[in-house]
Amino acid sequence: MSIAWYLAVSAVVFALGAIGVMTRRNPLVLLLCLELMLNGANLALIAFSRMWGNGDGQILALIVMTVAACEVCIGLGMIVAIYRRRLPIDVDELRELQG
């Protein structure tokens, strides 16, 4: 398959993740949708890496995975902290910082 097909899949996955971030209200699912967006970007990176025959894109994808793992770590920690304080697990209701 030509590289363009992989790029098309990555664009679709990224857009689906963006739709999820806009529609879902559960912060857990929001984190999952962020993962989707990062994975779309990863697929594009690896496709371009294959296109040039150069490993830099794969290294960048690995670093993106690391950063995603950190983000999951902190995000899940925040969700657990929210749950401990008996606050609603709903991003529409956590609006103290909205001003």
């Binding site: 590289i3 790029l7 963006a18 690896i46 294959r50 296109m51 025959g53 969700i79 609603p88």
Partner: protein, 217 residues
């Protein structure tokens, strides 16, 4: 063969992504994401990124998803906890507002997809029509663990070290965030058992014993 595999994996990835976005229960969303990640690993393999595919399956679909499953099990995970959801509907007016938001988000997402298609596929890059650069299998070639390891420890050593430090900070931050605090009940220093209160025969170790009032058995 590789084309059939591509279409199966691409359909799996997109279906998994749809599942993550649409399923109501957070637990099923996590499972859909696992399916999506495995399909994506197949795509990575087709792109000759063997090491990244392995990392994707082992670290991502394995470890990170287990973390998700644990948190979903702990928090309860359902999209709508009944009482809170009802209050949310009251705050938001009626439920038709949610449908409007959903429609608008779908429109925006479609626009984003079109824009990405134009940006990615409409570039003047000639390479995206081809099958990629030349590739010859071998132990040191593009995408193998040896290749990635050599790059990570030479050209990208700084990025590698910074990423490991970032992981350390994130782990410490997660512990600090999720630790119990505020209103923690300290362990009550109740009438515990001191070492000197070891069970002993009645009367021993007292003045009465010293005065010979307690007979030794």
């Amino acid at each position: 063969m590789s084309q059939a595999l591509f279409f199966i994996a691409a359909l799996g990835a997109i279906a998994g992504a749809c599942g993550v976005v649409m399923l109501r229960d957070a637990f099923f969303s996590v499972l859909a994401l696992v399916a999506h990640l495995v399909s994506l690993a197949v795509l990575f393999l087709l792109l000759r990124a063997e090491f990244v595919a392995a990392v994707q399956v082992v670290v991502y679909a394995g470890a990170v998803m287990v973390l998700y499953v644990f948190v979903v099990a702990y928090v309860g995970g359902g999209e709508d906890q009944p009482a809170l959801a009802r209050r949310g509907e009251q705050l938001r007016g009626d439920s038709s507002a949610g449908a409007h938001v959903r429609l608008g988000a779908a429109l925006l997402g479609g626009a984003l997809a079109v824009e990405l298609f134009i940006a990615l596929l409409g570039t003047g890059l000639k390479g995206i029509g081809g099958h990629g650069a030349g590739y010859s299998p071998g132990p040191q070639t593009f995408g193998t663990p040896a290749y990635i390891g050599k790059l990570l420890l030479t050209r990208f050593l700084l990025a590698f070290e910074v990423a490991s430090f970032l992981l350390l900070i994130a782990a410490a931050g997660a512990v600090v965030l999720a630790a119990r605090r505020g209103g923690v009940r300290e362990e009550e220093p109740g009438p515990g058992l001191a070492p000197l209160d070891m069970p002993r025969p009645a009367g021993t170790g007292t003045m009465a014993e010293a005065a010979g009032a307690v007979r030794r058995q």
